[in-house]
Amino acid sequence: MKDFELTRQSETVNELLARYGVKFGIYKNNEFREQLFPFDTIPRVIGKEEFSFLEKGLKQRVTALNCFIRDIYGEKKIIKDKVVPEEFVYISSGYLAACDGVVPPKGIYTHIAGIDLVQGKNKEWYILEDNLRVPSGASYPMIAREICRRSSPDTFESNHIEDNRDYTKMLRAMMDYSNTGGHTVILTPGRYNAAYFEHSYFAEKTGAHLATGSELTVEDDYLYFIDYSGRKEKVGAVYRRISDEYLDPMTFNEESVIGIPNIFDVYRKGHVALINAPGNGVADDKGIYFFVPKMIQYYLGENAILQNAPTYLPFYEEDMKYVLEHFDELVLKDVAEAGGYGVVFANKMTAREKEDFIKLLKKEPRRFIAQEVIDFMDIDILEDGIRKPRKADLRAFVLMADEPMVWKSGLTRFSRNPDSFIVNSSQGGGFKDTWVLSQ
């Protein structure tokens, strides 16, 4: 890859990112700290054709996921037809019985999907994970692009790159599409949330109102925002950045103080859109992931364009046999964990750990999936001015209005540790811009 002028501006770029407070919050020893999200100026570059292939595959995947969720909380055909075993649905922590029979505005459950992909050394893309609950991260490449363009205009003059700063326009259009009539609000748990920067940034850029639960209230089966002079304003769409269980203490976790009492009842009556729809976590469960290609076939009658990483479900006897025979070659994931936790590489376990793990696996086969370790294609990062190869993934964002829309960019996260495959920001990684070429 040729050297971009941009890569010589690393310091300027990171200074500007700091100026705008591009941060995420973390808890260390029970203390909240804000940390800058390290940015690496060498972009991930995706060619026009390659991206249009990804785009097709992503639209297909998210369309099928949306069909699946609608089915699960409606007719349950896919269970009756025995394509997905019911225990994978009903034991999943993302499945919410309270959502059964509740139809969201416009039938949309997956308003914002963050699909994690990796590219193997063979250049093939693999889906690693679907994030449907409250996927975050789009703000970072968006603001990084803004700053990179300021710092190195030449780079952007000579390369033909799709502008990614339209994300918030797409977001706004998507929210307006689902809105049932009234204002649009971004609901945040507050500034001590890891992604608070993003919540406030999206609110600013979309013109939606940023609110915490205590600023919203339910009256007569509608949701209202109350301003400081006591004026009531009806709310028609809530892009909520708090998880299902905390959304409404009257339906979910009764202890929640960040939610809005009875908001779920307003939603049930179709008087507000919740973005994303509650209960959609049933489709991003690591166990359900295995079935996504089958869903695509089932609902759309098509073959999956984008492939899963080769995955085994110890729940099935033959898969368990394979997993035990090839244990050392696999990565094992606890389906209940997120954010890079609960992921173990079998070849890194001690003999004792292996023994204990296999015992647990046999006892609770439903709890784990096993995957072949994909040989990632490394991407260079700059460390003290020297290029070094590191593992990186790509989170693509798909927004759903009347049609799915794929954002022509994405969040590329890399691991700063040369031996690590785990790229989550909560585990000390950094991020890159993702360029999609327009020619």
Partner: protein
């Protein structure tokens, strides 16, 4: 068949005034195949606007918010019911019974229940039992292993904890029985209601026999007949709590409940 008159009463006293009090109540019995509810009325204090809806299990809900300060919250439900119309409740087509097959955080077995379940299976004649016989056997097992003891458990007590303790109230009896049935892949659900002579709200279970739901009362070791009035059902206690509420104010609360069911 019985003609019953019922009165359910719940009162919460706050040690200091509270405000912005939002509540959701699942306290209204509904007409089913087994019971017909006639003339059901409710009164909520402080009186304000109340919304009605149904949850995903089909239970009737009342909810609202009292903004002003108050030190008392009271609910009274009165009405008449014809019970024991038939022994079973048909399963309406739309809803799926599968969710009642799986354990929940409150019913999930650990060592104690796991062992109890194994012991049940080892029973000499277990293999030859019909579904109904098995369920009765589980009910009797629960009876043998729990002693009724008010105050020994709380609303958060799991089936496993109750069994380890060997004590509990109707909620715990129901949870342990649900846990055993579900280990056996028998769809089973938690029921809240009222019982003649009980004095408070009551809980029992319903078992799905492939076509219909039948009620079993493990606390009293009997098949549910015309002395029970059903209010709601769900996977466990948390789906059916009669009252949920959040309010603002540093008050301590004390709750009192009574239920009166008598023949007309």
């Amino acid at each position: 068949m019985k003609n019953l008159r019922f009165h359910y009463h719940m009162e919460i006293l706050f040690s200091q005034p509270v405000h912005s009090h939002t509540y959701t109540l699942k306290c209204l019995p509904i007409t089913t195949d087994t019971q017909q509810i006639k003339a059901c009325e409710y009164r909520i204090y402080p009186a304000g606007k109340v919304q009605e809806s149904y949850d995903s299990f089909g239970n009737r809900m009342l909810y609202g918010t009292e903004k002003g300060e108050h030190t008392r919250f009271q609910v009274d439900v009165t009405g008449q019911a014809v019970t024991g119309i038939c022994g079973m409740e048909r399963q309406k087509e739309k809803t799926d019974i599968s969710i009642y097959k799986y354990q929940t955080p409150l019913t999930r077995p650990q060592e104690q229940i796991g062992q109890l379940f194994l012991n049940c299976r080892r029973q000499a004649d277990f293999a030859g039992m019909s579904l109904e016989e098995k369920v009765r056997f589980y009910m009797e097992t629960v009876q043998r292993h729990l002693t009724y003891d008010k105050g020994s458990t709380s609303i958060d007590t799991t089936a496993e904890e109750a069994l380890a303790l060997g004590r509990g109230v109707c909620q715990d009896y129901a949870h342990v029985m649900l846990s055993l049935c579900r280990e056996d892949r028998i769809p089973a659900r938690y029921v809240v209601g009222m019982l003649m002579g009980e004095g408070e709200s009551h809980a029992w279970v319903e078992i799905f026999d492939g076509a219909e739901w039948r009620g079993y009362d493990p606390t009293n070791n009997l098949v549910v007949g015309d002395s029970h009035i059903k209010i709601s059902h769900g996977r466990d206690y948390s789906d059916c709590s009669i009252n949920r509420g959040v309010f603002t104010g540093p008050a301590k609360q004390s709750q009192s409940i009574w239920a009166e069911v008598s023949e007309i």
